[in-house]
C-alpha cells in the first residue's frame, strides 16, 4: 500500500501533467508541500456541517452593469 506521501506525489505528478506545468526540480519540495496542504484544506471545507445546504457566496447577476 502506498504511503500517503507517495499517493500525494503521484497525484501531484498527474495534476502537473494534465495542467501542462513543467516545474524545475528545485520547486518539487515546495510544490508537494503546498499541494498536500491544499488537499487538506479542500477536505477541511467539506467537513463544515452547516455548509450542507448553504449557497455559495458569489452571486451572479444577469443584468451586468
Amino acid at each position: 500500500m502506498h504511503s500517503i506521501e507517495e499517493q500525494f506525489e503521484k497525484q501531484l505528478d498527474q495534476a502537473l501533467e494534465s495542467n501542462g506545468l513543467t516545474p524545475l526540480p528545485e520547486d518539487r519540495a515546495a510544490l508537494l508541500k503546498a499541494f498536500t496542504t491544499g488537499r487538506e484544506q479542500a477536505a477541511l471545507v467539506f467537513s463544515v456541517a452547516e455548509a450542507r445546504y448553504e449557497e455559495p457566496d458569489l452571486i451572479f447577476s444577469a443584468s451586468l452593469s
Binding site: Q7, K10, Q11, D13, Q14, A15, E17, S18, G20, R39, P56, D57, L58, I59, F60, S61, L64
Partner: protein, 72 residues
C-alpha cells in the same frame, strides 16, 4: 463523433484519471472508469479552450457581497 474516440494528448489519461479518482477518494466500476478515461481528454480540452488571451484582465461574473446578513 461517437463517444469512444480518444483524443491524442501529451499526458496519459489513464494515469491522470486514476490519480484524480484516488485524490477524490472515489471507488468506481471498471467500465465507469474506462468511460472516464475516454471522456477526460474531451473535458480537459473544453476547459483549456476557455483560456482565451482576450480574457487576461476579465473578472469572474459572480460577485461577493460582504454586507449580506447585516441589517442595512
Amino acid at each position: 463523433m461517437s463517444d469512444t474516440t480518444t483524443e491524442s494528448t501529451d499526458y496519459d489519461p489513464e494515469l491522470v484519471v486514476t490519480a484524480m479518482l484516488a485524490a477524490a477518494r472515489l471507488t468506481v466500476s471498471d467500465e465507469e472508469k474506462a468511460q472516464m478515461i475516454k471522456d477526460f481528454p474531451v473535458m480537459r480540452a473544453s476547459a483549456d479552450e476557455l483560456y482565451l488571451p482576450e480574457l487576461e484582465f476579465y473578472e469572474p461574473a459572480p460577485k461577493f457581497n460582504p454586507a449580506a446578513y447585516y441589517p442595512a
